[in-house]
């Protein structure tokens, strides 16, 4: 109805004559654009700072010098060396197996706990939330030391079971908090609607609730994986001697100084992370638009 696109009628003053009627005035559109450019510049500056160390390592991974000295001479030999570095490769394998298994169990236990907290534990939920937040905010160093000392006192000591359980205890709360947030946003009406249409409780859960919280379970699992993969303090104190995870392996290499093998490894891992991250983001954008992608990242880092 409103013909917004029609041109202004000839009889009235056209925007072009603004100068003589309005007198001098700031051009609103132009100022906004300049401001925006300034903020974008800041954003790029921050990205520049974030990526400087990473890019330096990436560039040096192709530099022939063993000590990272210039002039730059291209080589791929460090990647060849990396491929032959059994310590790093088997450490990567150990880390992947550990993180995957911990993430899987954390997802199952965490989702169950989240459901229980939201659906059944009326007053207990606050207590549990406090407990989970504590678990998340205690420095990992202190948690790891506490776990190790208890294990020593019990007589179990360092070992794979302790490493697994310790990693699980640290990672699971993240799954719970992510899923709880989603469940609270969801409410119970949808499931009740399904029940009123004749679905049994389990069917209603499987057909209605589960698909709706699926995404947050997935991001919680991803978060658990990342946290377990990176949890150096837990690995450092709880892993059995001789069972070096990737961060531990990197640690021993780094203590001995500059190492072109690590440059190559860093380049590979960071490229994979950036690539995977961007792919996930693209998928999320195509599926659910920008808002979901952002809120999911937020969810992940709640």
């Amino acid at each position: 109805m409103a013909t917004n696109t029609a041109a202004p009628p000839e009889s009235t003053a056209a925007p072009a004559s603004s100068g003589d009627v309005g007198g001098p005035r700031p051009d609103g559109h132009g100022r906004a654009r300049r401001q925006r450019r300034g903020w974008l510049a800041w954003l790029w500056l921050v990205l520049g700072v974030v990526y400087t160390p990473v890019l330096v390592v990436m560039v040096l991974s192709f530099n022939a010098s063993r000590y990272g000295t210039l002039p730059f001479a291209f080589t791929a030999e460090w990647y060849v060396a990396l491929a032959g570095n059994d310590a790093l490769i088997s450490a990567t394998g150990r880390s992947l197996v550990l993180s995957t298994s911990v993430a899987a169990v954390a997802a199952a236990l965490g989702t169950a706990l989240a459901l229980w907290m939201v659906r059944f534990a009326r007053s207990g939920a606050t207590l549990f939330t406090a407990l989970l937040t504590t678990a998340i905010t205690i420095p990992w160093l202190i948690l790891a030391v506490a776990m190790l000392l208890v294990a020593n006192a019990v007589g179990v000591g360092r070992g794979l079971p302790l490493l697994f359980l310790g990693s699980l205890a640290v990672a699971m709360p993240y799954v719970v908090l992510v899923v709880v947030a989603r469940l609270q946003g969801l409410g119970t009406e949808l499931e009740q609607a399904a029940r009123s249409l004749g679905a049994r409780p389990l069917t209603a859960f499987r057909l209605v609730t589960l698909p709706l919280i699926g995404k947050s379970v997935l991001s919680g699992t991803l978060l658990a994986f990342i946290i377990t993969f990176n949890n150096f303090p837990i690995h450092f104190f709880l892993a059995p001697f001789g069972f070096n995870t990737l961060p531990m392996e990197i640690y021993t290499f780094v203590l001995s100084g500059y190492d072109p093998d690590i440059n190559a490894l860093a380049t590979v891992l960071i490229s994979v992370a950036v690539g995977l991250g961007l792919v996930l983001l693209a998928v999320a954008r195509r599926r659910g638009g920008d808002a979901t992608a952002t809120s999911r990242l937020q969810e992940m880092w709640g």
Binding site: M1, A2, T3, N4, T5, P8, P9, T12, A13, A14, P15, A16, S17, S18, V21, G22, G23, P24, R25, P26, D27, G28, H29
Partner: protein, 376 residues
């Protein structure tokens, strides 16, 4: 307190975008309560943004208290604004919210306190100073927003759909309150709203806005009872819109598909053969007995199809030779109007408005204003 003027204002949100305001001019007198009403997307809020200084017009002038304020930023325009969402500061108490403008002007603390107390009394919220906005009801938040906007004794008060978030009952109460407070403060006020009842009830003067242009302006009663276009007729209240042709100009005679109407006032410059629209408000029909044909105005017979009682009035649908008609009567009269009863309707010449535009082709009895651009 001051007068306020917009002069031929053009505005668009991006250089390439379509203009939202198209050469708009308004002139609000000192102390006047000026109501702007229009459908969503008509540019109401944009007018407030231009007046407030949040958006610079592409062309035209904003004149406040006799001086051009076009380049003056909002913080130095000295206007009080009540936002649709109230926009109360959630981290400040009611007292701090109301005192905010004084604090920005570095008024001494004691004076601030005195003024805050005075304003809270004016809006009827004494002893609420220490509360936080989220502890108040919608109506109370609205009053706080009003007090906050008035505390600096602004040159004018701008109200953006101030009552739209309130329940119907509180809304009516607040309408009365708003008028009282505006009178007592003696402040020039501009309200924009999509609610015709609000605009009719509040404004000393009323302006109907559509697609960034003024459609009609005048005293509320005047605009309501003498709409000059189909848009105004249907947007403010409801109307029977009937297609017609001008038969004769002096004395006037209009032909509504075979039915003549005499003594109507024609739009200026009408000529014989012009296609026009005849508008009659549903409550302006008179139920005539069979006391003979009235000489002037519009008279016809119709059959009651349905009656719907809504409180004090009854709304009827009738079938006539002109198609479907709407009729509103006091509920005391509804008893006479059973389904299938035939009645004589008469509208006096003063209640029949001849609008220049031809009616849309398929007969439209009462046209409901459809929201523009509701397609996904």
């Amino acid at each position: 307190m001051a007068d306020l003027r917009l002069d031929e204002v053009w505005m668009s949100y991006s250089p390439e975008g379509p203009p939202v305001l198209r050469g708009l001019s308004i002139d609000v007198a000192d102390g006047e309560f000026y109501a702007m009403v229009g459908p969503s997307g008509s540019g109401k809020t944009s007018i407030l943004k231009v007046l407030g200084g949040f958006v610079a017009p592409d062309a035209g002038r904003v004149v406040l208290d006799g001086s051009d304020v076009s380049g003056v930023p909002p913080e130095r325009r000295d206007l009080g604004i009540v936002f649709q969402s109230y926009a109360l500061f959630p981290h400040l108490t009611v007292g701090e919210n109301v005192g905010f403008g004084l604090r920005m002007r570095r008024v001494r603390a004691r004076e601030q306190r005195a003024e805050v107390t005075r304003l809270l009394a004016l809006v009827g919220l004494p002893e609420m100073e220490a509360r936080y906005p989220d502890e108040l009801s919608g109506g109370q938040q609205q009053r706080v927003a009003l007090a906050r906007a008035l505390v600096t004794r602004p040159k004018a008060l701008l109200l953006d759909e101030p009552l739209s978030a309130l329940d119907r009952k509180i809304r009516q109460e607040m309408q009365v309150e708003l008028r009282r407070i505006q009178r007592e403060a003696g402040v020039t006020a501009i309200i924009v709203t999509h609610d015709q009842e609000e605009a009719l009830a509040l404004g000393d003067r009323l302006m109907v806005l559509d697609a960034g242009e003024v459609r009609q302006e005048g005293r509320p009663a005047e605009v309501y009872s003498h709409p000059r276009s189909r848009f105004v007729a249907t947007f403010l209240g409801s109307a029977n819109l009937l297609p017609a042709t001008v038969d004769a100009v002096e004395p006037s005679r209009i032909d509504l598909g075979g039915l003549p109407a005499h003594g109507l006032i024609l739009p200026e410059g009408s000529r014989t053969g012009d296609r026009v629209t005849v508008c009659v408000r549903p409550e302006r029909w008179r139920l005539a007995g069979d006391d003979g044909a009235a000489p002037d105005g519009l008279a016809l017979r119709a059959t009651v199809r349905s009656v719907q009682l809504s409180g004090q009035v009854g709304e009827c649908r009738l079938d006539s030779e002109l198609g479907e008609l709407a009729l509103t009567v006091l509920s005391s009269q509804v008893a006479r109007l059973e389904e299938g009863v035939e009645v004589s309707l008469h509208a006096a010449p003063d209640d029949v408005h001849v609008l220049e535009e031809p009616a849309a082709e398929p007969t439209e009895a009462t046209e409901a204003t459809a929201p523009a651009g509701s397609r996904p």
